[in-house]
Point group: C2
């Protein structure tokens, strides 16, 4: 297995894309732009199926893992009869299954065969605990205050049935059947202990479809993820992960994930002209560069004014308002999937972003930034938050351990 290659990719946090992909189409048709910078590393597409993500490690997979082209988010509630003991057994089963599947092995017992013939295709499985989990399992004392319910935001349109949950599982893979296979295996392993509460499907670019090395596009057509914290940043670990000395101890090496199903009002959005769309974000749509110039990785010049005396990057531009330096240092790692569940009765697409963001502390990450967005940035009128969840995602399991063991047997 290409563990070394993979580890390097995980550290880079880049999507599995290749610089080779666009030779013909880009050249002949001119639609595909040249990559805005040289890829630091171009994973080989020949190994798409064989690519493996490590299950064991300091952190769980699926956080700094390059975005896969297919994703499932699923929340479970413990059943009435299930307590701490059943939850521990469940996490033990789930961890064993995740480890096997991520290594490209069949699950123990009868298999559905849906992933048969395919390699693991960068499958990752990530487990988290919701606020309600701790009451049901008598573990209130272990509940981190960071799991306190998110504040209500005035613009929320939350569907409670698709929000929260005792347990949360994130599945990603570069093959949709491999991802579905894992989802089904995880659901089956839940047995009598837990039931699906809600489930969502998402997607991103296929590896090889584009020559861009860094980031994906969302369904508004924007390059998304440009100014994410990078694993090479000095403060990356500190911002995203709970430190070894952190509280509660069972969360050492863990992270808090905020999940928001954010509908995009695409019919309204697409009525805007290109310039208006770019003003909303403060970056160019073509290559993600700031409106003040440069490339995707250039720092925006927030103070720069145009001939009209107005800021080039407007005061309500999304990419200005959300910056750490505008929010007392608050930062998060965004790792979203797009979703599209068809059209509603008015012919409007039920589509948008499964916004998934990671941080060591939601009160120093999502919450202050969303509070500000809630007062209204330029993007707000084109989106609607329809579901929400906050989960404690413990550190990765070491060999012989299962995810959450330090909580459940601590």
């Amino acid at each position: 297995m290409a563990d070394n290659g993979i580890s390097r990719r995980r550290l880079l946090g880049t999507a599995g894309a290749t610089g080779l992909a666009l030779g013909a189409a880009g050249g002949a048709a001119g639609y595909a732009a040249a990559p805005s910078e040289t890829p630091e590393q171009t994973p080989s597409l020949a190994s798409l199926g064989a690519d493996t993500v490590m299950f064991h490690g300091k952190h769980q997979p699926g956080i700094t893992t390059p975005l896969q082209s297919r994703g499932h988010l699923v929340a479970f509630d413990l059943t009435a009869g299930a307590g701490r003991k059943e939850a521990a057994a469940l996490l033990r089963r789930w961890s064993a299954t995740a480890e096997r599947l991520m290594a490209g092995k069949a699950p123990a017992g009868e298999d559905t065969d849906v992933a048969r013939d395919a390699g693991p295709s960068s499958l990752s499985v990530t487990f988290g605990f919701g606020h309600s989990f701790f009451g049901r399992t008598g573990l209130e004392k272990q509940r981190p205050s960071a799991l306190d319910p998110l504040p209500d935001f005035s613009s929320d349109h939350l569907d409670k049935a698709r929000s929260d949950g005792d347990l949360w599982v994130q599945i990603g893979a570069n093959d949709p059947l491999v991802a579905f296979h894992a989802l089904r295996a995880i659901q089956k392993e839940a047995g009598e202990a837990a039931r699906v509460r809600w489930q969502m499907n998402g997607f991103n670019r296929s590896p090889g479809a584009t020559a861009r090395p860094m980031t994906t596009r969302n369904l508004m057509g924007q390059i998304d993820g440009s100014n994410n914290p990078k694993p090479s940043d000095d403060d990356f670990e500190q911002r995203i992960f709970v430190p070894a000395s952190g509280e509660p101890q069972w969360m050492a090496g863990g992270s808090y994930v905020v999940v928001r199903r954010i509908r995009m009002l695409l019919d309204d959005w697409e009525k805007l002209g290109l310039k208006e769309q770019e003003a909303v974000i403060g970056r160019h749509k073509s290559d993600g560069s700031p409106l003040t110039g440069g490339t995707e990785t250039t720092e925006p010049k927030l103070e720069k004014a145009g001939a009209d005396g107005e800021y080039v990057i407007a005061l309500n531009a999304h990419a200005r308002i959300t910056r750490p330096d505008q929010n007392g240092g608050s930062a998060m790692l965004r790792r979203p999937y797009s979703y599209h569940d068809g059209f509603d009765k008015d012919g409007e697409p039920d589509a948008g972003l499964l916004f998934v963001c990671w941080q060591a502390d939601p009160l120093r990450g999502f919450v202050p930034v969303q509070r500000k967005l809630d007062r209204g940035d330029a993007l707000s009128k084109f989106i609607r938050h329809e579901a929400s969840g906050l989960f404690a995602v413990p550190g990765g399991a070491v060999k012989g351990e299962y995810v959450g063991q330090r909580l459940l047997e601590g």
Copy 2:
């Protein structure tokens, strides 16, 4: 553009998979089976984004085109004010957009940018006309009798709102954002002339996830498509396409598509053991070979009996009952997508097959075979037909022509 390469792939009708993909995972983990036969041709994954399907040709794309990993099916109804003239203008716009996008160019006018940076990724767009189209456009005289409504089947559980429609569009691509981009462009081009009636999303294996060259798996874990008619068969053209001398003349080179949303009752299915599952189909799950032995491409020995005196391939086995030689020669080209729209209230997956099959005449293809399945084969109790459509898909446009022009201006 790799037109020659693509044409060869289209003729082969094989999925875009590579023999390289499984080196590591297959060897190390042993889950992935070796391919059951040598691929006749292994398209290069390095060109996933650049791969192009031809818009112009004798037949429309998306029929013998290798299955893409992402698919959208969408039906439109003409609006009250729209007649033949508006329909003609619509098909002209749609054809121009399909041609541009399939060549990897941006659509005319303002673009959403969702496919930007990506190559066409084997995008195909296919257009068809439903029974109701002809009345709305005053073209009843041109309506083929082959479009007569399908008979009712006793096991049907059809949702009318997700069935039929004036116009049908099938979109396939190896990148989900490229497919969504095309769907949105097509919807936008409909303008005031037509509204979305229903829309479904599907998927298949990603190129490169498996070394198997021929066929994909469905969500029951079976290899699906093994005994499809092959473009190299003597009677392939005759079975699948309306001949040049066919009736009505505007359908020359065209084909009829039957679309069925078939829910799989996976909770019941997965309770069966492997042997029982294999008996239901009459083929091995591992490699698709008939229960009477050989490989995926070996002819089943229908008359062979086991030690117990019973047929090895049961009389009600799906792959026995559906064979042309059991149905007076009736044959169809199956080109399905899997679908998964989450879980319903009981925790059962809303998942199954977007069954799409092609034939020169539905009365010599889908209808007689489904009549027999309706009386009950071994598979019937594990599936439920939930939506249905039948559309006339005209021949491909030659340069300068639009799809359906021979009907609309004939």
